[in-house]
């Protein structure tokens, strides 16, 4: 039992756990203390000083984000003194800031903008003395604009402590202090795995995706191009809140309609290839289990995770499924199978993917992802970019009439849709792998042990004819490390992995918490979106990938069977060993088999 203490917050008596900080207690009781660096998902960095409050008996104000409550504490959250403190701090920040709100990617979501506006800061009080520094756009995924950085430190915490990638750091000190990659090498030449978590937690527009909006508009508005679009599972559950609908609402058919209005020639769905991934990866898993291999199979759909593995665990690359991600399977099929079926020259196809992820931009540009003879996926847009396009097109999603997707490559099952949340790929895979091993259908298909936001989840599923199937699920790369270290240790000591099958997603919460998701995100919101996907799964007529009639059709008409030579050529890939210093390829870690 955690002891409770009595505090008086703006005169109001409250009983709160003694482990809380002042800001946590205030948040719990809806008392808003201004802040810039504190975020409820992260340990406080206490860098900005905006959260100051007066605590009786103390001569100077205290920072609410890093001051624990104490018995009898009397706290004042607003006073003349505090207002002037905060105003001065914000004025000082703005005087070193590239204030270009109307065109900024963070406009309307920016915590600095909101705070300055709420406090009625007058920009004329302090002249702007910013020296504009170059913007780092070396990476295909991420843009770093230090001119908008307020040195809150959230990105450094996320990159080092939550993701353990060690790409970002503070350099120099005092007023010159800024975030950077080591030796100012640029994000493309750092350990950055493009997960984008730093962009979602950044309170301003200092970190954002490398935008492909213009290129996509150009393609869409070009009558000679056949522009097709796929949307990841997480997109359908992440648009509603931006248009005044309830967070976690599934808006899949409105999403299709909006994409047609924007001008895409064919609207299809990544969920279809999520089902296809299950067949390819599930077959790979079953073959591995049957072979008696002591090495586990680890999922491969998260590109942030893949680059992380290539950097920190290349010795285990052979344990990672060779199956491409659903996005890349879709990309290659869009220029082979689809082109053939529709009788379109693949050279005229522009294949666009809407993803909750910025690492997908990196994945699409990997040289391996050209098995169609072209770049398989031409452009990747994040959820944030899609939202901007929808708004630019003047569409209010709330009032858009629902439409169906095009027929090819769009039909999906409940298993495909839960790919968007942590544990979903594992659950989907078990639903089908069970049948692949036993020839029987799994009856209890809600595998709740792998659901939820626990960092590492484990489950054991009895499979007749095989025995106990041990699985693990990790999300967020520090959790991935825990799992990978145990696998490495197991293989190096007893020669056995603690689990047969492991799912890893780079982002906390899985894709619903991806680095391309709307700004102003937190773990509680990610959980709501995940629930939205489970809800859709429950209500879909088919909930197992191997029952998807369109999947059966693509094998009959094109691919042959799972893991066939053609499937291997188009739908599977191989991995590299990368430098921990700069992320560049050192050598092949596995080979592509033909």
């Amino acid at each position: 039992m955690i002891k409770k203490v009595n505090i008086w917050l703006d005169g109001k008596h409250l009983e709160v756990p003694e482990t809380m900080t002042i800001i946590e207690a205030a948040d719990k009781y809806n008392v808003n203390i201004p802040r810039l660096c504190y975020h409820p998902d992260l340990p406080p960095t206490a860098n900005c000083g905006v959260c100051v409050v007066e605590v009786a008996g103390n001569p100077t104000p205290k920072r609410a984000c890093c001051t624990p409550v104490a018995e009898g504490m009397k706290i004042v959250t607003n006073s003349k003194l505090l207002r002037s403190y905060r105003k001065t701090l914000v004025e000082m920040i703005l005087s070193h800031h590239d204030v270009v709100c109307p065109t900024c990617s963070a406009n309307n979501k920016c915590e600095l903008q909101t705070l300055a506006n709420n406090m009625g800061v007058d920009p004329d009080t302090l002249p702007n003395i910013m020296h504009k520094a170059p913007i780092d756009a070396t990476s295909p995924s991420i843009v770093r604009d230090v001119n908008k950085c307020i040195a809150c430190g959230r990105c450094v915490t996320v990159c080092n402590d939550v993701q353990t990638v060690y790409a970002l750091t503070f350099s120099d000190r005092g007023i010159e202090s800024q975030i950077t990659s080591a030796f100012g090498s640029g994000m493309a030449n750092s350990a950055c795995v493009n997960c984008g978590q730093c962009t979602v937690y950044c309170p301003t527009g200092a970190l954002r995706e490398n935008s492909d909006i213009d290129a996509v508009w150009d393609a869409v508005l070009d009558p000679l191009k056949h522009v097709i679009v796929q949307e990841a599972p997480a997109i359908r559950v992440s648009l509603a809140e931006e248009f005044g609908m309830e967070l976690g609402t599934i808006t899949v058919k409105k999403m299709y309609a909006a994409l047609r209005k924007i001008g895409f020639d064919a609207v299809m769905d990544t969920n279809f290839t999520a089902d296809l991934t299950i067949l390819e990866e599930g077959t790979e898993c079953v073959n591995k289990l049957k072979s008696g291999s002591k090495r586990p199979l680890i999922t491969s759909c998260s590109p942030g995770w893949i680059k992380f593995m290539e950097t920190y665990y290349p010795d285990l690359a052979d344990c990672v499924s060779t199956a491409k991600s659903p996005m890349s399977m879709f990309g290659v099929l869009s220029k082979t199978y689809y082109a053939q079926e529709q009788n379109i020259d693949p050279a005229n196809i522009v294949s666009v993917a809407i993803m909750p992820c910025i690492a997908k931009k990196f994945e699409a540009r990997r040289p391996e992802m050209r098995d169609s003879g072209f770049q398989d996926t031409d452009y990747v847009l994040t959820t944030r970019e899609l939202l901007r396009m929808i708004k630019e097109a003047g569409i209010d999603l709330k009032y858009v009439k629902e439409e169906d997707a095009d027929e090819t490559m769009s039909f999906y099952t409940g298993a495909g849709t839960i790919f968007g949340t942590t544990g979903g790929v594992m659950e989907a895979a078990i639903r089908s792998a069970y049948t692949l091993v036993t020839g029987e259908e799994l009856e209890e298909i809600d595998i709740t042990a792998v659901r939820g936001l626990e960092g590492v989840k484990e489950a054991t599923i009895p499979v007749p004819g095989f025995g106990d199937l041990h699985v693990a699920v990790a999300h967020g790369l520090s959790n991935a490390r825990l799992v990978m270290d145990r696998i490495r240790e197991g293989l190096n000591t007893t020669g056995e992995s603690p689990w047969h099958f492991v799912e890893i997603m780079a982002c906390p919460g899985g894709c619903v918490g991806g680095g391309g998701q709307p700004y102003g995100n937190n773990m509680a919101m990610r959980a709501r979106r995940g629930e939205g996907l489970y809800h859709e799964d429950r209500n879909l007529p088919i909930r197992k990938s191997h029952h998807n009639p369109e999947i059966k059709r693509i094998y009959e008409r094109f691919l042959g069977e799972p893991n066939s030579p053609l499937a291997h050529r188009l739908l599977h890939t191989h991995y590299f060993k990368r430098s921990v210093n700069n992320g560049q390829v050192i050598e092949e870690a596995t080979h592509k088999h033909h």
Partner: protein, 150 residues
């Protein structure tokens, strides 16, 4: 050779600043290269970005090659009152460099520093490990002359 220096210290994180010091001091160009950081990173199992953060936090470390002689002129008020600004101007025009830069021949790097603790002899500067006090423009000329000859 970076590794040889590392190995003089047990591989624990608290030895980072000592290793950085020795690597910088023994380098003919008085700096810590990217390559050195990568070697230290592997030796101590500390990510390169952390080392870079430490390196840039302390003004005593440099990530850029520096001259054979590092001139550190005190910029604290006691020296300023005694016209350290005139000394600075003299140094800049003599060496044709700005603060933080190295002369073309790689001989001198000009830097500013906080109080050296010998305010009695203000204005003061250090060149490598030697302190020079009661500076005048003439003194500067002869010091630089002498060092340039060797």
């Amino acid at each position: 050779m970076f590794l040889d220096i590392c190995k003089k210290y047990p591989p624990t994180k608290d030895n980072l600043i000592y290793i950085l010091h020795e690597i910088q001091d023994t380098h003919p160009q008085h700096y810590i290269s990217e390559e050195a950081v990568q070697v230290i990173s592997e030796y101590l199992a500390v990510p390169v970005n952390h080392i870079y953060g430490v390196l840039t936090f302390y003004s005593m470390y440099s990530t850029k090659p520096r001259g054979k002689y590092i001139i550190r002129l005190c910029e604290s008020p006691p020296c300023y009152i005694k016209s350290s600004d005139i000394i600075l101007r003299r140094l800049k025009s003599l060496l044709h460099v700005n603060v933080g830069e190295t002369t073309k021949d790689g001989l001198f790097t000009l830097e500013l520093c906080a109080c050296l603790g010998v305010c009695g002899n203000a204005p003061v500067m250090m060149i490598n490990d030697d302190v020079y006090g009661d500076l005048t423009e003439e003194k500067i000329d002869s010091i630089i002359d002498k060092l340039s000859e060797v």
